[in-house]
Symmetry: C2
Subunit: 271 residues, 2 copies
DNA sequence: TCTTGACTCTCCCCTCGGGGCAGGGCTTAT
DNA sequence: ATAAGCCCTGCCCCGAGGGGAGAGTCAAGA
């Protein structure tokens, strides 16, 4: 039986943490003195603690660890596999960011430009054509696109239609929120008569964004600036079309996205 | 001039975030209506926001970003370089954890053992020899070892003494705390007469831990169990000696650490 | 002109994994 | 008796916002 301080030292965990784990029910002492409230731990707790620490290093949250401690081997194995995939995902993301930062630095050395905004955005005014699509409009987070696109493709397949190769997302509503925005995903279909809806022709300012989606906001900014400078007015929900995306090519730096802002000529000269 | 909702959409940042940045002074709107409190943003804010987002992706905290926005190019460059190193460090750590998890899974497949505790710890009872050392006892975090060892080596060099090749840390006090424990670092020196102090001979339970320091607690646990099972009693501050460490070899899986627990034979048979 | 709906404001409480401190109780050695 | 080390509970704090209540504001339609 160890007092909390000794136990803290054995496991290399702070006393506060031990008390916290007791409070949330993750690791209860083997015995608590009824009168003094002193906590006493023994070797069973020690093993459990080692496992908890290990799982925490693997990136599980305390809430996730709790059920893991009392599930059978198979479930445990499944969860570990899932976590491994998550870690791999995070690893790739971190590598991408590292790559970005490295390029930014290199550019900073050459040009002395702090911003590293790719000013090479070529903005064109285009008239989109009407497009027959299947779509799905939901309140969703931007990380859930994959899931929703999956069901969308299933619906197209169930109707026996042919995907036309245009894939995109339209951002409805005014406000943006990373985890929950009003977003409409769409996939074009060849059979225009059997489509779910037809996206109308619009005059748009458009540009092509190359690279991962985390820097899409720069394309947005370039478009908005262009619109203002050229006497147009923002008129309707913007949308992206994914020309080269995650399903074509693994490397984010090779992705290509067309960004469209519907516009109309401004009437009054004054802002 | 954009309202907060429009601006949110342009930058792909939630309204809540914009209000928060205003509150903490990171990004103030270009104008605030004195009567209604409405916030209005324009293109200058837009550029600044893009930079903020970028720096956030690079892993800077908001507190770190604030000064970065108004410093000169050189300082900015320095900070970016520093951040790049930090990212690289995090990347390596994440890779190590990923590796650990992979090995754990493989072992789980083979043995069905959930814990993945290396039960191969061979515990020996040894008598340490007196050792002439230079030491430095401070309240420090375990991530600051490098810094303190640096100054310790400097002191040894300034005295014109020869480091004897033994490097270690002793954990004083009862409680462990990752960021602030009472720790004594020591380096042995050849010239025993001119040493700062001499560590006395002790009877110890010892084992060798192979791998990164994040799993050191498993060696601790093994030692504590052994001590209890073999009728000994824990008697004094434990210490580690780093045989193969970060300065010998880059890969954490090749590190070797000796872990010592001073012990004495228990007198009473009962616990 | 009034209403309605969309947009905005401030204010307060919540997150996760604990850290820090105040105020007090228990045990043991001096 | 007292002092030193332990330990307890309870309260507020962190970062980077999210959620919602309750109220004010703006523009367009009836």
């Amino acid at each position: 039986m160890y007092q909390i301080g000794e136990f803290s030292k054995i496991c290399q965990v702070s006393v506060k943490t031990l008390r916290y784990y007791d409070k949330v029910g993750l690791l209860r002492p083997s015995e608590v003195d009824r009168f003094t409230g002193y906590r006493y731990y023994d070797r069973a707790q020690l093993e459990k603690m080692l496992l908890i620490q290990k799982l925490k290093r693997y990136g599980f949250s305390l809430d996730e660890i709790q059920p893991l401690l009392s599930c059978d081997n198979d479930a445990f194995y499944q969860e570990l596999c899932r976590q491994r995939e998550k870690l791999q995902w995070r690893l790739m993301e971190l590598e991408t960011v590292f790559q970005e930062l490295t390029l930014h630095l290199r550019k900073l050395e050459r040009t002395g430009d702090i911003m590293d905004i790719p000013n090479g955005y070529e903005i064109q005014l285009t008239e989109t054509r009407p497009m027959a699509v299947f779509s799905c409009r939901e309140r969703m987070g931007v990380d859930e696109f994959g899931k929703y696109f999956g069901t969308l493709y299933e619906r197209v397949a169930k109707e026996g239609l042919t995907p036309g190769g245009v894939v995109g997302a339209m951002y409805h509503g005014e406000e943006f929120n990373h985890d929950s925005s009003d977003i409409e995903l769409f996939v074009s279909v060849e059979e225009s008569d059997r489509a779910e809806k037809v996206m109308e022709a619009r005059q748009c300012a458009m540009t092509v964004h190359r690279g991962g989606y985390s820097t899409l906001n720069e394309a947005y900014a370039a478009l908005v600036s262009w619109i203002e400078e050229n006497g147009y007015e923002w008129d309707g929900a913007p949308f992206d079309i994914y020309k080269q995306g995650a399903w074509h090519n693994r490397k984010p730096e090779d992705w290509e996205t067309e960004v469209y802002f519907p516009v109309r000529k401004r009437e009054s000269a004054a802002s």
